[in-house]
Amino acid sequence: MATLKLEIVTPEAKIYSEDVDMVTLPGVEGEMGIFPMHVPLMTQLAAGEVSVRKDGQDFFLAVGEGFVEITGDQVSILTDMAIKAENIDEAKAEEARKRAETRLTEKLDDEEVANVNAALAHSLAQLKVKRRGR
């Protein structure tokens, strides 16, 4: 069976690079699942959860905003943040979420709101991945 080569890179490191069977990722216009031989596509990535199927097993990563380039045999994800499920520190993410939410209730200017929202999206994505299947 054909496989996809999945690459996830952030400015700080290459997080993931392996051959997989299927990738599900959060696009800005909705979730999409990608199998091998997908039509070449380029899209924006929303903060959320990427699920990867490899050898019949699923596993998950939390990602921030970014871009995805899909060719028939390759999926390349370009993002600010990418953390594997097992590396997520739930307590830390929860704390970050609370901090961001309390900040949002304060009076902020637009720029700060955007920053806090980005931080919130990051921690929510991490929490979602960590708490799945509970």
Binding site: K14, M42, T43, E69, S76, L78
Partner: protein, 292 residues
């Protein structure tokens, strides 16, 4: 004429100083390596971003974006990337010499690093914001800085943004450099890593025809801020590597000087000691002769 005890004391103090500078030299060289590695770690990202940029800009031929808008440069913003700490040779004074050349009234400074902010405050220039970045710069720090200058530009408070930072050419050579950031001119590829080579590469379109979601111009519009963020991140890494290598060289010189000083002082000490012994011997023999 100093006594032997004075000289001994001096030697001890110089030795202590040499120990400290030696330690700082070691620390700086390991930090420099770290910054270099971090810059190299951005390579896959840069490569992928270049590919996306190439394909997207091909898909949206006459694309315009507020960040690309050219205006008459009346007010400009200078992003001054300096170090937080001193003891790194001429690095910061070279930077501030360049910063002096900007017109006082029409330039707004945004500083990354304390030394730059101190310069701006001391010379009563306009300071819009001060950012800090760690020894190992994080992308989030670069994003905050980049976001701030983009906002200044988009709000029309400044008409152009330049970056003044120290370019890492090699371990021994760092040069203050001036890089235009905004408005975004022609889209060029970014290159990660500190080779001191040309930092931009030509964009080559891949042979594949892509579909875009939600549309090539939208994707390009969203990509542009990321492209700038990444550029700022690379600049921070480069400035950090420059700072550390400059500090390493300065501290190596200091250690060498201290060693030379110890050598000279030891020589002087021994001379004085011998002179004292000779004098005492003379005194003893003279006393004996006088008695005998």
């Amino acid at each position: 004429m100093p006594s032997t005890r004075d000289i001994r004391r001096r030697i001890k103090s110089v030795k202590n100083t040499a120990q400290i500078t030696k330690a700082m030299q070691m620390v700086a060289s390991s930090k420099m390596r770290k910054a270099q590695l971090a810059a190299l770690a951005g390579r896959p990202y840069a490569k992928l971003m270049n590919r996306v940029l190439a394909d997207v800009s091909h898909g949206a031929a006459d694309f315009t974006h507020p960040l690309m808008e050219k205006r008459d440069s009346k007010k400009r913003c200078v992003l001054l990337v300096s170090s937080d700490k001193g003891l790194c040779g001429a690095l910061n004074s070279n930077l501030t010499r360049e910063a002096f050349k900007f017109d006082k009234d029409t330039t707004v400074f945004v500083c990354a690093g304390k030394k730059g902010a101190q310069f701006v405050a001391r010379n009563k220039r306009n300071l819009a914001a001060e950012f800090t970045y760690k020894d190992a710069p994080l992308f989030a720090e670069a994003r905050a800085i980049s976001k701030f200058v983009q906002d200044l530009f988009l709000k029309g408070e400044v008409d152009s943004v330049e970056v003044l930072y120290t370019n890492f050419i090699s371990t021994l050579v760092q040069k203050p450099d001036n890089l235009p950031l905004l408005p975004v001119g022609e889209l060029k590829g970014v290159q990660a890593g500190l080779d001191g080579e040309e930092t931009s590469v030509a964009l080559e379109k891949s042979g594949v025809e892509f579909q875009f979601e939600p549309g090539a111009d939208k994707v390009l519009g969203a990509l542009l801020p990321h492209y700038l963020n990444f550029q700022v991140y690379q600049i921070l890494l480069e400035a950090k590597a420059s700072e550390q290598s400059s500090r390493m060289v300065a501290m190596k010189n200091a250690t060498d000087n201290a060693k030379q000083l110890i050598k000279d002082l030891t020589l002087e000490y021994n001379k004085l000691r011998q002179a004292n012994i000779t004098k005492e011997l003379l005194e003893i023999t003279t006393a004996q002769m006088a008695l005998g």
